[in-house]
């Protein structure tokens, strides 16, 4: 890997290699035909639109996840990382990742959730932490996760970041 000529730590943190990789080659991209749960995530401000699909088995385990739609590198990478993360998880554990990540990035989730999920190891989701320096982009990074939350809770309306 050649060293990048731009000398900007914050931008490099935002567009880490892992993020760019997932943005360019999103995992589990497409429609899940046997989905049991799905939800749209819409960022009305910028027009990002993702649809998240999940197959949740009788034992509450997420056995598959897919997504389709369009968005910026951050929102697509986040959705891709989400699918990688939640497949194989119980829904309650997936929701813990949701609140831990949203809390970490936005720094405004309720304290109780934050504390309860503070011990969650975000693993490669930590690659998304670069958005903390870019407040206008936090919504991009959390869009798919809000949709996950809606899908599991069976909300009828699309999730928005507003």
């Amino acid at each position: 890997m050649t060293s990048m000529a731009y000398n900007n730590e914050e931008l490099r943190e935002l567009y880490r290699e892992l993020i760019l990789d997932h943005a360019r080659s999103p995992r589990h991209f497409g429609k899940l035909t046997d989905a049991t749960h799905s939800a749209e995530g819409i960022n009305p401000l910028c027009g990002d639109k993702l649809k998240m699909y999940f197959r949740i088995d009788a034992d509450d385990c997420i056995s598959d996840a897919c997504f389709e739609g369009s968005g910026c590198a951050i929102s697509v990478a986040s959705a891709s990382l989400l699918t990688d993360t939640v497949i194989g998880l119980k829904t309650e554990d997936a929701l813990k990742y949701f609140s831990a990540l949203v809390g970490r990035l936005a720094g405004r989730q309720d304290a109780e959730n934050n504390n309860a999920d503070a011990d969650i190891n975000l693993g490669k989701l930590r690659a998304l932490e670069g958005v903390k320096e870019f407040p206008s982009r936090v919504k991009c990074a959390t869009l798919a996760w809000h949709a996950l939350n809606s899908a599991i809770r069976h909300d009828a309306k699309p999730a928005t970041t507003e």
Binding site: M1, T2, M4, A5, Y6, N8, E10, L11, R12, L14, Y15, E17, L20, L45, C46, G47, D48, K49, S70, G71, C72, A73, I74, V76, F134, S136, R137, C140
Partner: protein, 418 residues
């Protein structure tokens, strides 16, 4: 003194290239770079003359207008009504009765939809707009169509982002009760051929509303020469404050329209048995108006008038040509909006980099551009894209701003090709 001689006199005095210094917001650095503000189509910066006029009014002259007999109310009324006269002269309205203060272009268009169109629209009637309109020249018509059973028709555009004039003219028939079009497209920069469009519409007795929000800060606008029936624009896109705008309407039409809202100031006499409405333009100005906004808009007009809008237009056109040339030279650029006649706006995409990512990286370099759908989602659908990055110019921009943009795009390419 006529406008022509004012302009000539100013030619010798004011160099537009020096105007930047009049705008305090443009002297700052953003993320360590001199600000390159290329988002005036969303909202323009304000010169000291506007900021000071509002401040002076707030500090010394504030009172309600048209009400008090005391000195302050008199001063506020003079300033508020004086601004109306100068704004009217700026667009060459025939009389001050034709210059209605609103909260902006959006309210101006809603006013016409509800007050001019709604009372007479019926099922089978149609309203015609074009495919390149801003949401504020789409949704008010959708609303009034829902309310009346009328239908909204859309005149098509071509790949360059120009309205298909022949197709538009073909759609003009007896069922069309209003033609509402932009003067300049906010997403594409296209200047519409208004003289032709208006002549064609009028030959079929169809009234025409112009959304002039993106035109007034960039082009000479003469509503009498255009012969449009309504013309709407916003102060904050022409170096004035937010929350203020104008609806110009021909007096004969405004006269017949019922009030848009009821309240104080729009009445002559109120009795429970019935109310007599005030004269034009006050009939449409219910409640205490945005007095400081109107004064700010008046100051913006005072700022623009000696510069001469012909000269502003020439200066910006040269800059737009430079912008388009510089962008075109970038490998992987796709220009959106390549009409033959354009003003002040260039939308684009770069490689497969999403516009929001471009926006973030450019901001990091001190360059402010708008990214997204620009409140013109049907335009984005037309091109099959979720959005664009848009650089938009105003008289205070210069080639350095464009160089900064091009450099920032280079950085974006570097990051995304890593």
């Amino acid at each position: 003194m006529s406008q022509a001689s004012l302009t000539n006199a100013a030619d010798a005095q004011v160099d537009i290239a020096n105007c930047r210094g009049d705008f305090p917001a443009l002297s700052q650095e953003i993320n360590g770079h001199p600000i390159a503000f290329l988002d005036s189509a969303a909202s323009s910066q304000q010169p000291s003359a506007v900021i000071d006029a509002i401040r002076e009014y707030q500090r010394h002259d504030h009172a309600n207008v048209h009400r008090g007999v005391y000195t302050l109310s008199h001063r506020a009324t003079e300033a508020y009504e004086g601004a109306r006269d100068r704004i009217g002269a700026f667009i060459n309205a025939a009389s001050r009765s034709e210059v209605v203060y609103t909260s902006g272009t959006t309210e101006s268009i809603n006013l016409v939809a509800q007050s001019f169109c709604r009372p007479s629209l019926k099922p089978g009637d149609r309203i015609l707009i074009t495919h390149l309109e801003h949401h504020s020249n789409i949704v008010p018509w959708q609303l009034v169509c829902e309310q009346t059973g009328a239908e909204l028709l859309i005149a098509p555009i071509n790949q360059r982002g120009e309205v298909e004039l022949d197709a538009l003219i073909k759609l003009l028939d007896d069922n069309i009760k209003m033609l509402a079009v932009a003067h300049v497209s906010n997403a594409l920069g296209t200047i519409l051929p208004l003289p032709q469009i208006i002549t064609e519409a009028h030959s079929r007795e169809i009234p025409v509303l112009i959304d002039g929000a993106q035109a007034v800060p960039h082009l000479p606008v003469d509503v009498q020469e255009l012969d449009c029936d309504f013309y709407s624009f916003s102060a904050h896109k022409m170096f004035g404050p937010t929350g203020t705008g104008i609806l110009y309407g021909k007096e004969t039409l405004l006269d017949k329209m019922p009030p848009y809202q009821g309240g104080g100031d729009m009445i002559l006499e109120v009795k429970f048995a019935g109310t007599t409405y005030n004269d034009l333009p006050y009939k449409f100005e219910a409640g205490t108006p945005n007095i400081s906004g109107a004064i700010g808009l008046g100051a913006a007009v005072d700022y623009l008038r000696p510069l001469g809008m012909e000269r502003v237009s020439r200066y910006e056109h040269e800059l737009l040509t430079f912008l388009t040339e510089r962008l075109s030279a970038i490998d992987g650029i796709r220009l959106i909006g390549t009409a033959e006649h354009k003003a002040s706006v260039q939308s684009f995409l770069l490689d497969d980099i999403h516009p929001h990512d471009l926006g973030t990286i450019l901001d990091h370099e001190g360059v402010a551009v708008r990214t997204g759908h620009h409140c013109a989602m049907p335009v984005m659908d037309f091109y099959g894209i979720p959005g664009t990055a848009r650089a938009s110019l105003a008289l205070y921009n210069n080639k350095d701003d464009i160089d900064a943009l091009v450099e920032g795009l280079g950085k974006a390419k570097e990051i995304f090709s890593a």
